[in-house]
Symmetry: C2
Subunit: 144 residues, 2 copies
């Protein structure tokens, strides 16, 4: 989660919402991919940190499915990212801050509980929650 | 929807699940982007036709938001794509076949009805439903 936080801070320095994600080999613990949010720079509404990290990892491992991978992300994934995590067959999801306004794991659609969800990772929320949330709060306070 | 169907057939000829999507200028009716499903070729679990078409359109128009655009897609979008459609601020969504197993608009998460959904397009389902569904049924029948 330290590296996800670094990616979040790097995103912030580029003028992006500070969210970072890391895909890790579930067996070795090696980092396979890491990314920060890039929706502004890429002019891409889908360029969330999780989507970018999953895409990179799939390229690197040569497979659209990543059952031997865990994902760390600083914020509760939105519904788009939760669905992508399910499609990618990610083993475990670790996230930092909870997102009552836009989250899709513990809020709103709660995608992993839906009958249309065909793979559910193990989910651990609230990891380094304070650090992850403070980064976002400070960012949005500056924006106002 | 004719062009979305052509994209779906082109996807099938590449060994992909036959789903196609087209982004259209809501005022002029001009096509801005069109894509077929490409998850196999790209080794990318997020490379659904809708995501690819939205990304292309955002690049072309130089904006991550597409409020003057409508999206045509041959199958009810999944929850990932429905969320991406909302993020992209698409004006109207026209889709062909309904998807009770994986859809996220009229099934499962019904994302546009969630409190975490902050933009809801106008939705018209069942456009050229038979043609769109037949293409998918034939594809999966061959696979078995």
């Amino acid at each position: 989660m330290d590296i996800a936080l670094k990616e979040a801070k790097a995103a912030e320095s580029r003028g992006e919402v500070p969210i970072g994600a890391v895909v890790v080999d579930a067996n070795s613990g090696d980092i396979i991919a890491q990314a920060g949010n890039q929706t502004e720079a890429d002019l891409d509404p889908t360029a969330h940190a999780e989507i970018l990290a999953i895409r990179q990892a799939a390229q690197k491992l040569g497979s659209a499915r990543l059952p031997e991978c865990d994902l760390y992300v600083t914020l509760e994934p939105c519904t788009m990212c939760a669905t992508a995590i399910s499609f990618a067959r990610i083993r475990r999801l670790y996230f930092g801050a909870y997102d009552s306004k836009g989250g899709g794991v513990d809020h709103g659609a709660r995608f992993f509980t839906q009958p249309t969800c065909h793979h559910t990772p193990e989910v651990y929320g609230g990891i380094r929650e304070r650090d992850c949330a403070d980064l976002l709060k400070a960012f949005f306070a500056k924006k106002r």
